[in-house]
């Protein structure tokens, strides 16, 4: 297996049909991801980050080009491309343990009962949630729910872990805590990760490469930044690190100078008016 061509996105394009004709969300997205790499997708809202992620997940089918994972084309969703959803998406009627168990049952028919149990518990341990395994999702905090969401995804033993703004809805302290956990897990398991984020610090801290996307419609990859910082990374020591700050600067200047959202009032008004009819499209392309 070619380790450099673990996951390949080739000429990926996405059009959504609307009553006024096709809406082009993505064009010509080309990306090669190495095994074990941590990739962040960053860009302004509506730039199609989520669309890219959904195409890789198989939840959307690209209208142009395609995705190849380990020499197999991606056609449908599957547990080898586990998704951590922004709002955790745990089944509210199942306990924490049962939520993870569902994923384990689905992905490993070969395991016997004791082994399955051990695997569920191992993954809960990994995200430090063993203490709440019998609680319902409604009984734990948002950060804890997201941890369980990660445990569920990891329990599928995915080749690629797809994370759609996993920490977006959390407060800053909880987010920092979870970022550290995620770095730990990534170091231990070496999964390939694609993560969508809005947060520049988060992107630089966690990623091997940061993929910066241009504004939509017809969004595509603008620049790719290599983050050459040694691991393990520590947010406090990095705060004064020139290389770290250089990376931050690069991303910030891409977002706020090169791809500054020029949105004058008239445009904004128009957008609001068309927002209702384009709701479906927006929902799918908004990141």
């Amino acid at each position: 297996m070619d380790i450099d061509n673990h996951l390949e996105l080739t000429q990926v394009g996405m059009k959504f049909p609307t009553p006024k004709g096709d809406f082009v969300a993505l064009t010509d997205v080309n990306l090669r991801i190495k095994k074990g790499e941590f990739i962040s997708l960053i860009g302004h809202s509506g730039c199609g980050k989520s669309t890219v992620l959904n195409v890789v997940a198989g939840l959307y089918k690209a209208t142009d080009g395609g995705v190849i994972l380990d020499n197999t084309e991606v056609n449908e969703p599957g547990p080898e491309r586990a998704v951590v959803f922004q709002n955790h998406s745990l089944l509210p009627w199942l306990s924490v343990y049962k939520n993870v168990e569902l994923a384990v049952k689905q992905t490993r028919q070969g395991r016997n009962k004791a082994e399955m149990r051990a695997w569920v518990e191992h993954n809960l341990e990994l995200v430090h949630m063993t203490h709440a395994k019998d609680k319902l999702p409604s009984e734990i905090s948002g950060g804890m729910k997201q941890r369980v969401g990660i445990a569920r995804a990891l329990a599928m033993e995915p080749k690629v872990l797809l994370m759609d703004e996993p920490f977006g809805a959390l407060d800053a302290l909880t987010r920092a805590h979870l970022q550290d956990s995620l770095m730990e897990i990534h170091a231990e398991l070496g999964n390939t990760v694609i993560m969508i984020t809005h947060d520049v610090d988060e992107a630089v801290l966690l990623s091997d490469r940061i993929v910066m996307m241009t504004n939509g419609p017809s969004a595509t990859i603008g620049e790719i930044l290599d983050v050459d910082l040694p691991r393990p990374r520590n947010r406090i020591t990095l705060a004064d690190d020139p290389a770290y700050n250089h990376c931050r600067h690069e991303v910030l200047s891409f977002l706020y100078e090169k791809q500054r959202k020029v949105e004058n009032v008239a445009d904004h008004q128009k957008k609001r008016e068309s927002a209702t009819e384009e709701k479906a499209k927006d929902a799918s392309s908004a990141a």
Binding site: G58, L59, P79, S89, L91, Q106, S138
Partner: protein, 333 residues
């Protein structure tokens, strides 16, 4: 006959009282006990006043006291009838024992007591009939509703049928059901009487729709993220329905079931009147045809009984929903 202005007066005065009281700060006791009791007392008072002024060809419209005395009369009749039945079985047993003692080869004959069904026996018949119709309807409606909710094509195909048959009155179905049952349900030793089958089917036909529609809506409005979870996990269709679809749509399914049971209970009374199924509907019809001076009071007893049972059935469904639903924190009403 009571005329409609009288009833609307009653209800408007009733709501006035309610609004006057709810504006003030009431403690829990008042809200849960004193006010309902007050409302009830006021209603009974008004009823007795109004009843005195209505003269019908069967005498004065029954007030609360006549109705209460007829209720106890019905209870006495029931007691007397069951004593008679007991005595009948005792005699039969004694007779058979005697014959057996004389002639050991004698095969004892056991006959069923054939006295007229009492009011309470009729309540049971009604409850049994409505349960059969309701269960039958639910067995059809819930899976069909799930299919409609899961697939837009199935929904598009079934929607016209649902919309056309939903508003049809049970009285329109009944002649058709009666004729079909008489033609199709032919047996020398029928397990159920035809009137029972007709009533149960009519109930089923009318209480199919709320469950079907509510289930379809519940299933089609499942959180999209949960559906994506199911896709990523590659849940098979049956597993998808059991682990994702059913738990998410339980509240809507039960809303439908409760509406259905309510409709079924209403429909049943009408169906029993026409099909002559020996339940509460037949009781009302027979009393009406009978036309004695007690008939109206006895019908009023039936009316109140029907109301109370309908209310209890709804509570029962609510309890069941609480038992089945995963979300215990949601207030059920």
């Amino acid at each position: 006959m009571i005329d409609s202005t009288n009833t609307s007066n009653v209800s408007s005065i009733f709501s006035n009282v309610k609004s006057k009281f709810s504006g003030e700060k009431m403690n829990k006791l008042a809200m849960s006990f004193i006010l309902p009791a007050l409302g009830l007392a006021f209603f009974v008072l008004l009823w007795s006043l109004v009843a005195k002024n209505i003269d019908t060809s069967l005498g004065q419209f029954p007030g609360p006291s006549q109705v209460a005395s007829q209720a106890s009369a019905l209870w006495q009749e029931h007691k007397a009838e069951s004593e008679k039945a007991e005595a009948f079985y005792k005699r039969q047993e004694d007779r058979n024992a005697k014959r057996l003692a004389q002639d050991p080869s004698y095969e004892p004959k056991v006959r069923v007591y054939t006295g007229a069904p009492t009011f309470f026996a009729q309540i049971w018949t009604s409850l049994y009939t409505v349960s059969v119709g309701f269960v039958l309807a639910s067995i059809i409606a819930v899976p069909l509703g799930i299919a409609c909710g899961l697939s837009k094509s199935v929904y598009a195909a079934l929607n016209p049928i649902i919309q056309i048959f939903k508003p049809v009155s049970p009285l329109a179905w009944l002649p058709l059901v009666t004729m079909v049952v008489s033609a199709v349900y032919v047996s020398d030793d029928p397990l159920f009487s035809k009137s029972f089958v007709t009533s149960a089917f009519t109930v089923a036909l009318c209480c199919l729709w709320p469950t079907l529609i509510n289930t379809a809506v519940g299933v089609s409005s499942i959180d999209k993220d949960l559906i994506n979870v199911s896709k990523v996990l590659r849940l098979k269709p049956l597993a998808h329905v059991i682990t994702i679809v059913l738990p998410s749509s339980i509240p809507m399914i039960f809303t439908g079931l409760r509406l259905s049971l309510g409709i079924g209970w209403m429909v049943l009374i009408a169906a029993e009147m026409l099909a002559q199924n020996p339940g509460l509907g037949k009781f009302v019809w027979d009393e009406f045809q009978n036309g004695s001076s007690n008939s109206l009071a006895r019908i009023m007893v039936a009316v109140i009984t029907i109301g109370i049972i309908g209310f209890l059935l709804d509570r029962l469904m609510l309890l069941l929903q609480q038992k089945v639903s995963w979300d215990k924190s949601v207030e059920l009403r």
